[in-house]
């Protein structure tokens, strides 16, 4: 998943700012996606993504090359998104209607990716982040723990509860007996 950015990082630390563009180009999709899925708003996700890259640029000299750069960036993304939500001082709940799910009740159709996203929005942010990082970013529980600031055991417990919560939502919509 990670392109080797070590040479770009070295060039940025040496003062070659154009090398940072390569880092932004490679990682902006992952950063923006995570921010958007946590915040649920495109404008805010763009602002957060921008802030993430600025923070990364400022603290690049503190980055430990022994650890994957992508994971370090995701940690900043997660923390920045949570800070943003705290500043907003309200929990983001699902804004989207469930009518998209309901429209399938009268006719048979398969679940689709949009509906999965809508279901995830009903979860609490940390649970949502853990599920997204686990299933869509392919990280292990230990790696997720480093990003969200929890022990591996705590991540497993949250993952278990998040899955159950999602199952509950599926049951409410009639997709699970």
């Amino acid at each position: 998943m990670e392109k080797d950015l070590s040479s770009a990082i070295q060039r940025v630390l040496a003062g070659e700012i154009e090398a940072f563009e390569e880092i932004v180009e490679t990682c902006q999709g992952a950063v923006y996606s995570l921010a958007l899925r946590l915040l649920g708003d495109c404008e805010e996700a763009k602002d957060v993504a921008q802030e993430v890259f600025i923070r990364a640029f400022r603290n690049l000299s503190f980055y430990n090359p022994q650890k994957p750069f992508f994971r370090w960036l995701l940690t900043i993304t997660y923390n920045t998104s949570m800070d943003w939500l705290r500043r907003r001082s309200r929990e983001l709940k699902a804004v989207k209607e469930v009518s998209n799910l309901a429209r399938g009740q009268s006719q048979k159709h398969d679940f689709n990716g949009v509906e999965v996203e809508e279901l995830l929005e009903k979860l609490e942010q940390t649970d949502r982040a853990i599920l997204i990082l686990k299933y869509w970013y392919g990280l292990t529980c230990s790696e997720i723990g480093e990003i969200v600031g929890m022990e591996e055991g705590a991540v497993k417990v949250r993952l278990y509860r998040a899955r159950l919560r999602l199952a509950e939502e599926l049951r409410k919509e009639g997709w699970l007996l």
């Binding site: 003062g15 940072f20 996606s33 997204i132 869509w136 999602l166 599926l170 049951r171």
Partner: protein, 137 residues
């Protein structure tokens, strides 16, 4: 027949099973425990759903990269100014402070010179007396 695992152990096994394959102990427990079976079905359903619909990365707006690079260049410029202006100020401040400390220490030392002389004389006399006593012995 081996003893059945407890429901708590079964829950742990379920989570491990989602990453790999279910253990025989879990299967055995599920044959006899309706509530754990319901739980397992729920976990399996959500696990399959999330695996079936992996979401790709969303393409950010084109302006994001341009704004990040603009902000980074501004940050770089700010650092250069800080280095050019702040460094000489810091060095000269540190030098002035060091000079002041050395001056104060020299002044204190000068005041203490007579007392230091007395202490030195007394110490030498004591050492001479010890030498004489050792010599007598």
């Amino acid at each position: 027949m081996a003893a059945l695992i407890s429901c708590q152990e079964a829950i742990y096994e379920m989570q491990e099973a989602l990453e790999g394959s279910p253990s025989p102990e879990l299967y055995q427990h599920l044959c006899f425990c309706e509530s754990c079976l319901t739980l397992w079905r729920a976990l399996e359903a959500t696990h399959s759903l999330l695996q079936k619909y992996p979401q790709p990365f969303i393409t950010p707006p084109p302006a994001l990269k341009a704004e990040v690079m603009r902000a980074s260049k501004k940050e770089m410029g700010r650092r250069k100014i800080l280095r050019a202006v702040a460094a000489p100020i810091l060095i000269s401040s540190a030098g002035a402070f060091l000079t002041f400390v050395l001056y104060k220490m020299a002044f204190m030392f000068w005041n203490l010179l007579p007392a230091a002389g007395i202490v030195l004389r007394l110490t030498l006399r004591w050492l001479w007396l010890c030498k004489e006593l050792v010599g007598l012995l």
